[in-house]
Symmetry: C2
Subunit: 385 residues, 2 copies
């Protein structure tokens, strides 16, 4: 099947999903993912018996997640974000530790080796930045104190997870943790974040704006420049060892401070939301494998429970500690439940190095899909109250 | 090299090309193609010694040409287009016959077999709809009488070329022309065009609009629906045997008649012009192979001359016959010079069936690139006078 047919099917599914979401008053990404799961299990695009997407469609989806995080960065309220920054570390850390411990215990309980159990724990750590960004954008609260807390905590737990996974894979591959490699990674990551912070300083962005204001760009060229900057940040992040979506997110925050790029947010949300981002969420849904879901038993159920309870408890507790009220704290906990990012990379690596078997991989994938699907509607309901 | 790096390079080239075009007061596609040729010959993306693009980038380019033709269709003035429709057939037919005959004679002159000569003639027939659409959009004259004539003639000569090539390939493959296959193709193509014409009738579009106006779509969903319709039309066109870009163009014309899709034109031109279309023109430029250009001698030069003179004379004469003034007639002739569409498919097929050798293929490619690069600035200059 050629890629245009694939895209037609994916876009049609997105449209139907959005329509149903609206009718049933659910977040649009829920409809997109559910429709994705349906066409995925009809094997329309992936071909009988395989979950492998047409590579082109999955590249469109990659651009989709980048554009989503770029939009999220552009929409962020930097003042709120900086104010809440240190506090969100509390939420992130508690939200990483609790699922990790619970996942480890669950795997040991089911008789897996301690190395496999460590791996399962690690797979429960990172919240999905993408899902969070979309639902916060959709509810229009990404610029609020709560939205900033959730985005900040999601970014931090992603970084923590990447570090732990890097150590972990290093140990599995070469038998010990390469302190040198990890130090370099940490230094580069810090440097990257520092430069980003520097670029958002009023004084720096003022100078940049003054310089940029001389160039007169039409909206098309402005869009090209914005996309180019986001892709460059993503490549830098990727080469450091961070995930590319963090690069796009930080690019969005930086560009959001420049009045030169004022028109970008609106145009990015159009090109993203009107094409690439729906492709992303439908393809996320398509990874859901009904047969795997039905065939794996108790362990998948326990893993799912542990993933939900661990994040909910850890992050709600964290939010409560930094003085959010009860309803907000539970909201934060629920917002942090979705997993779909680092986990998927982890599954790939785990299978490659023989740390997990396909059964555990399926259990993790089911956890990823279910947490991603159930969290947004619950979060939306709590927030609307 | 991963596809994000490829896209970064292509977009950066597009941006530099646009900037230079603006400085030198040239059409932006000229800058994009020239920069494409430069990065192509630096082998940044394609890898040393190969012209093969990263497949993902070339798929983005495919979407670019579809979006370009969709925008062109949306921007067309249907009344002018219908009025000029029959007349444009004169321009198209004269513009097909003359280059064909001249190309045939040139190839025979250089000692090639009559079958190769027929093939070379066929490779000079079709104008590039994409290049025309872009330059007419850029100059803001796609809705005028002259713009309608050029687009109409380009579509018609594309269809004529596709039919002749289909016959030709059939003869080469099975030894005779399969009248049955060709009749079916013609009937389906006519049916497709008839349905399109029907859909643009005031009475039909009125009913459609009345029905559609009940649905309230945001601009994102409107964009998704528009893209979906265009891709569906493209798939239908492709399955009939027409080129996919004709499908997208016709989809644009049909949607352009519906007031429901009024916001689409503006948003399509943003998502196209701000991302996909520059990728298309840069990748067109990238196919230019400096070494091939330098190594093939006299035949390439003659072919290029014949391609330019044939189209210019044929189409100018045609325009003159249907009562355009001298300057306009020459303008039409120049506008019709660029080739970059059917020719590229023809080269692929010709090589596969052993009708042409790589030397002739290079000569055709050089002809495609040079005609595409030189026509837009000359056309723009004549029109501005």
């Amino acid at each position: 099947m050629d890629f245009i047919t694939s895209i037609v099917i994916v876009l049609a599914a997105a449209l139907v999903g959005r329509f149903l979401s609206k009718k049933l008053k659910q977040p649009i990404i829920l409809g997109e993912m559910v429709l994705g799961a349906i066409i995925g299990n009809m094997s329309l695009i992936t071909g009988e018996g395989t979950r492998v997407l047409d590579p082109v469609v999955s590249n469109f989806a990659d651009i989709g997640i980048l554009f989503l995080l770029l939009s999220a960065g552009l929409s962020l309220n930097l003042k709120e974000f900086k104010k809440i920054g240190k506090s969100s570390a509390v939420v992130a850390i508690l939200g990483v530790i609790l699922p990790f411990i619970l996942g480890y215990i669950a795997a040991i309980w089911f008789g897996f080796s301690y190395i496999t159990a460590l791996f399962v724990g690690a797979a429960l750590m990172a919240t999905s930045i993408g899902v969070n960004a979309e639902i916060l954008l959709e509810l229009g609260i990404i610029g609020t104190r709560l939205g900033s807390l959730v985005m900040g905590a999601a970014v931090i737990d992603d970084i923590i997870s990447v570090v732990i996974i890097a150590i972990f894979i290093g140990v599995v591959k070469i038998g010990y943790a390469d302190i040198w490699d990890i130090s370099i990674f940490l230094i580069l990551a810090l440097l990257f974040l520092l430069i980003a912070v520097l670029l958002t300083k009023d004084r720096v962005s003022g100078v940049l704006d003054k310089y940029l204001s001389k160039a007169k760009l039409g909206r098309e060229n402005l869009l090209i420049v914005g996309i180019l900057v986001a892709l460059l940040f993503s490549l830098v992040a990727e080469n450091i060892g961070l995930s590319i979506i963090i690069g796009a997110f930080i690019a969005g925050i930086v560009l959001g401070q420049l009045s030169f790029f004022r028109g970008l947010k609106d145009n990015m949300s159009l090109i993203g939301g009107g094409f690439f981002i729906p492709v992303f969420f439908v393809t996320v849904g398509m990874t859901f494998d009904l047969n795997a879901f039905l065939s794996i038993g108790g362990f998948a159920g326990i893993l799912l429970m542990v993933a939900i309870v661990g994040k909910l408890a850890g992050c709600s507790l964290g939010a409560k500690l930094i003085k959010f009220d009860n309803r907000e704290s539970i909201g934060v906990g629920i917002a942090m439940i979705p997993r779909a990012g680092v986990e998927l990379i982890l599954v790939k690596l785990g299978l490659r190095y023989g740390i997990i078997n396909t059964e555990i991989a399926s259990a993790i994938l089911v956890m990823v899909i279910v947490t991603t699907v159930i969290s947004p509607p619950v979060f939306a309901r709590i927030l609307r109250k």
